[in-house]
């Protein structure tokens, strides 16, 4: 188990990779959203996440002794070295799916960053203090859409309910107490994932009820292993698109 700086570095990769991979997925919506305002909204949310990822990956590279830059970490790591959860790598579904995913993920990030404001690592703490406001804005945006779609037409209601079901298998992983997070939490650097669970579920549950929807519980399968680099097929495709220019033209700039 890493300790000290290498532990903080490993923990920064968890946070940074979640933000980076979801930023990449959100960017796919640009020109594909139902309205141009929504292209801009999802693009801007992705940009906030990318900014968080840049600071966190830079910090990871500073502390892990390898001297890697944010770009080295984003473009020149292979799939097994990414520490993101399965929720963020899932392929883009319909708009309802995205709002279900965003509601859960942004609510999770709100609780997470609120806890990390007091991190002993100055960069984690500074990123969290900024990001906690951004996540709240992202959550409110998803909330408005879930309310509108859930309490909308028969069609939008059914599809929003299906979307809540579709993201369900990927939620438990957010709250798994993996080795790095547990160690980071006891070192005063990180937050214990399981400790965030109740507040997140309560907050999302409240939105779901107001949207005249039901929070599903039944899962026959749940995702695992993102934090130790085990991903699914969609991650390879995502990385191929995200990394291919940097890898085809190493060191290129303009």
């Amino acid at each position: 188990m890493p300790q000290g700086d290498s532990l903080t570095a490993a923990y920064c990769l968890h946070l940074g990779d979640d933000a980076l991979i979801y930023a990449q997925r959100l960017g796919e919506w640009i020109s594909r959203a139902p309205q141009i305002e929504e292209d801009m909204a999802l693009g801007n949310i992705g940009l906030d996440l990318l900014g968080q990822a840049r600071a966190l990956l830079t910090r990871a590279g500073e502390l892990d002794g390898t001297g890697r830059s944010e770009d080295d970490l984003a473009y020149f790591r292979d799939e097994r070295d990414f520490r993101s959860v399965h929720l963020v790598e899932q392929p883009r579904g319909d708009f309802g799916f995205e709002m279900a995913r965003l509601l859960w993920f942004a609510t999770y990030q709100c609780e997470l960053y609120a806890a990390l404001v007091d991190s002993r690592d100055p960069v984690v703490s500074a990123v969290a203090a900024k990001a906690v406001k951004e996540s709240a804005y992202h959550r409110d945006h998803a909330e408005q859409w879930v309310l509108r779609l859930g309490d909308g037409t028969d069609e939008s209601h059914v599809r929003m309910q299906d979307s809540l079901q579709a993201v369900l298998p990927y939620l438990a992983e957010l709250f798994d107490d993996d080795e790095v997070s547990v160690a980071a939490a006891s070192a005063g650097v990180g937050a214990l994932p399981s400790a965030l669970h109740d507040a997140v579920v309560e907050r999302v549950g409240d939105v779901v009820v107001r949207a005249t929807l039901t929070l599903p519980h039944e899962v026959t399968w749940r995702s695992r292993g993102g934090r130790i680099g085990v991903h699914d097929q969609s991650m390879g495709h995502l990385l191929a698109e995200m990394q291919h220019i940097a890898r085809s033209h190493p060191g290129a700039s303009w």
């Binding site: 305002e37 801009m40 909204a41 801007n44 949310i45 992705g46 940009l47 906030d48 996440l49 990318l50 900014g51 968080q52 840049r54 600071a55 100055p122 960069v123 703490s125 500074a126 990123v127 203090a129 900024k130 990001a131 406001k133 951004e134 804005y137 409110d140 945006h141 408005q144």
Partner: protein, 162 residues
């Protein structure tokens, strides 16, 4: 004359315009946190508005150019903490935004704010009417939202309070 040069370069750095909203300087926007001239080096500290603000690179480049034009060397540092807030925007900056057609951010208070449907009053920067509504919570950049005026019917951007 060294003192005069130092004052000049500090003023020039303060006057660097924001690349997205060029009517407002980085000093009036509150991005510029510190400028210090030590010998031939100008140390500048800036704080991003949003985590992913893409203008930071351009701002850094402009600061470096202005400093180099004064024959000095620039050292630009990005400081994340404390996080930028629109409360750091100067009155002069708010006026400049309004004249540019962008509604300035309202001043935040520590009072609890009701979340949900927005009842904030945002005045139209074009006709001054209070009767405006939100079109989209996200605008052309992270720091802006889109609104429209129900009196003069013009759409406009609002600099979001953060």
């Amino acid at each position: 004359m060294v003192t005069a040069t130092a004052t000049d370069v500090v003023e020039a750095v303060r006057a660097v315009p924001d690349p997205e909203v060029p009517v407002i300087s980085i000093d009036d926007l509150g991005i510029l946190r510190d400028v210090a001239v030590e010998g031939g080096v100008v140390r500048v500290t800036i704080t991003p508005t949003y985590s992913g603000c893409p203008a930071m690179e351009a701002i850094r480049a402009r600061i470096e150019r202005v400093v180099t034009d004064h024959g000095l060397c620039a050292e630009v540092t990005t400081r994340l903490s404390p996080a930028w807030t629109t409360d750091w925007m100067s009155e002069r900056g708010r006026d400049a935004l309004r004249r540019f057609g962008v509604a300035p951010p309202h001043v935040r208070s520590d009072e609890p704010v009701a979340v949900g449907l927005s009842v904030r009053r945002v005045d139209c920067p074009l006709c001054g009417s209070h009767d405006t509504e939100e079109i989209s919570r996200f605008g052309s950049t992270s720091c802006k939202a889109l609104r429209r005026c129900l009196s003069c019917r013009e759409p406009f951007e609002e600099f979001k309070a953060l």
